[in-house]
């Protein structure tokens, strides 16, 4: 049973990798499964020769770095403040965040707002609207709460301000949770495509996920009115899509063995503390 689960999980990955290394005629006959047929790396060269692919890839890197930085700044400030029991109105601020988990304004008002603020076609349309994940904040809050209070009290007596305590005592002690949160935000941002798709109309600004989405959409006939460029992409072959998928997912796969246990402990922390 477990081996079956593993096989089912892995199969699509192997299939995509095999396709990316296969020659097109075998794919067209639907013969490629987990082993490349007609092995070649020409498709990789082809994809790598598209300047737009590299522009979009670089965009993804930039968006990920900036979004993660903004998210970390806001989340840490908020989580630390609400972790302090001496904060008057603490319950109000926590409640304010929790409400947004249950009810959200929805796609349309958010879209109208982002457009109204003039964020369209800027990185801020991606970095700001989802900057704080309340779940992540709760994980950080419970971590901060479990730090020994005596250290903070000692710091206060020694004349450190709140900023000083946060910067010199709390944050250095919180490296594990901070690392986890950076990974959470960075992976989410690397993987995201919809905000860019929604708020950007210049292909030079797209992240690589939208580049890939346009390749995929071009071949399914799922063109939508907004994306007229898709029409030119209808003959994108399976191996080009496979190569792009492999290249997009590669950084994640590469760091995956290292990040996995952080993610697991992060989820645990959040769940155990509720």
């Amino acid at each position: 049973m477990l081996l079956l689960a593993v096989a089912v999980t892995l199969y699509p990955f192997l299939n995509v990798v095999a396709q990316s290394l296969s020659s097109e005629k075998y794919i067209d006959f639907g013969q490629v499964t987990v082993w490349p047929l007609g092995f070649n790396v020409d498709t990789y060269k082809l994809v790598a020769s598209d300047p737009l692919f590299w522009i979009n890839y670089r965009n993804t890197v930039v968006y990920t770095v900036v979004s993660t930085a903004v998210s970390m700044l806001l989340s840490t400030m908020f989580a630390y403040a609400i972790s302090r029991k001496d904060l008057k109105g603490r319950g109000f601020f926590i409640g304010m965040a929790l409400v947004t988990m249950l009810y959200s304004g929805g796609l349309i008002p958010t879209y109208v707002l982002v457009n109204g603020l003039g964020l369209t076609n800027t990185i801020w349309a991606i970095a700001l609207p989802n900057a704080i994940s309340v779940f992540n904040v709760l994980v950080m809050k419970s971590f901060f709460e479990n730090l020994p209070k005596e250290l903070e009290e000692a710091a206060a007596i020694d004349g450190l301000s709140t900023y000083g305590t946060l910067w010199r005592i709390v944050l250095p002690l919180s490296k594990p949770v901070l690392a986890t949160m950076v990974l959470f935000y960075a992976v989410a941002s690397w993987n995201s495509w919809f905000p860019a798709f929604l708020y950007m109309d210049n292909s030079n600004l797209y992240p690589v996920t939208v580049y890939l989405r346009n390749l995929i959409a071009g071949a399914t006939g799922a063109q939508d009115a907004g994306a007229s460029a898709d029409a030119n992409l209808t003959q994108i072959t399976a191996n080009i899509k496979a190569v792009t998928m492999v290249l997009t997912v590669l950084p994640i796969l590469f760091i995956y063995p290292f990040i996995q246990r952080y993610f697991v402990s992060g989820v645990m922390l959040g769940s155990v503390k509720g």
């Binding site: 699509p12 299939n15 006959f29 499964t33 349309i108 109204g116 495509w193 996920t209 995929i216």
Partner: protein, 320 residues
């Protein structure tokens, strides 16, 4: 730990008479640095979370593109009446309920079963290997997942390869509305089953080993132990996750459906959120789409609240 430290201050203030006046005199702005940390995050919540909530007012108003984000003139419940009378709305409404329901019924038990199986594995290395691989899809972009779905189900994809090998006709899965629910639910399970086991595995480690011993002494076999000890042990976790899942079940995988559906499969694939995306963003009927979105969000809220209420009454477990 912290609560025991704080409480004496409150219940026995007389013990430390000198500390109290000092504390009294300390004005709230002495803590201005702490409050200053809140300024940006609170501004974020107000701007990007609460203003859009208030922005739902455009559902009751006529919005002119480029105009006031709250709309420009009152039209009352016109938009709500409009979509309640719209047959395509009821189509997407039932699709949402069907896809959400199927994903819940088939997807929810899978992580539990997987976790129970993993729990029986004594070989640590093998257990880690299974966990590592089954978590993997959780870290993928939905665009990649959609790409994989489309390739595997395509005419030249692996499923058709097997069908042809068995001498059957190739099926154009992705163009066939009848297959859409299976593709959607199957891929949801694929993506979430491994990750879903984490919380159950954590709950399983909390179960008292003595209970198993007692059960063994009473002559319980492996199955009976699972049934009488393990399952009751993780029941609170199951209920909690069930409430959460019920709450989000109207919010079926919008991004994934947007990526894999096409006009040929609208009949079964179009859900409320994809419909409102097309109506609102693509056709520019912001007020009408906002009304639909509000309706959807309210249903979601009612579902969480009632699931929570019911489970509090029946099982005694609740989220708050």
């Amino acid at each position: 730990m912290t609560s025991t430290l704080v409480r004496p201050e409150r219940t026995a203030p007389s013990r430390d008479d000198r500390a109290r006046p000092a504390r009294r005199r300390r004005p709230w702005w002495r803590n201005w640095q702490l409050y200053s940390l809140l300024v940006l995050p609170v501004a974020y919540f107000v701007l990007f979370r609460y203003i859009p909530m208030a922005g739902n007012i455009i559902a009751f108003r006529q919005y002119v593109p480029g105009g006031n984000i709250f709309g420009d003139s009152w039209i009352g419940f016109q938009n709500f009446q409009l979509f309640l009378a719209d047959p395509s709305f009821w189509q997407v409404f039932s699709n949402t309920a069907i896809l959400g329901g199927l994903a819940l019924v088939f997807g929810f038990p899978v992580p539990i079963i997987l976790a129970l199986l993993l729990n029986e594995v004594r070989n640590r290395g093998f257990k880690r290997f299974v966990q590592t691989t089954t978590y993997l899809p959780h870290f993928l972009s939905v665009v990649i997942v959609a790409g994989m779905i489309l390739q595997i189900t395509s005419l030249t994809g692996s499923i058709n390869f097997v069908l042809k090998a068995m001498g059957l006709q190739a099926v154009s899965f992705i163009q066939d509305p009848a297959w859409f629910p299976a593709i959607y639910v199957g891929s949801e399970i694929w993506q979430t089953m491994g990750w879903g086991t984490i919380l159950y595995l954590a709950a399983l480690t909390q179960i008292d080993e003595n209970l198993y011993e007692a059960a063994r002494l009473d002559g319980a076999n492996r199955w009976q132990q699972t049934w009488h000890v393990t399952l009751p042990g993780i029941a609170p976790t199951i209920v909690t996750l069930l409430i959460l899942n019920i709450g989000t079940f109207m919010g079926v995988g919008f991004e994934k459906i947007l990526l894999i559906y096409n006009p040929a499969t609208y009949a079964t694939a179009d859900v409320i959120s994809t419909y409102l995306y097309r109506v609102g963003i693509q056709s520019g009927s912001f007020s009408y789409a906002a009304a639909i979105g509000m309706f959807e969000a309210v249903i979601g809220l009612v579902l969480v609240l009632s699931a929570n209420f019911v489970s509090k009454r029946l099982v005694g477990a609740s989220l708050w």
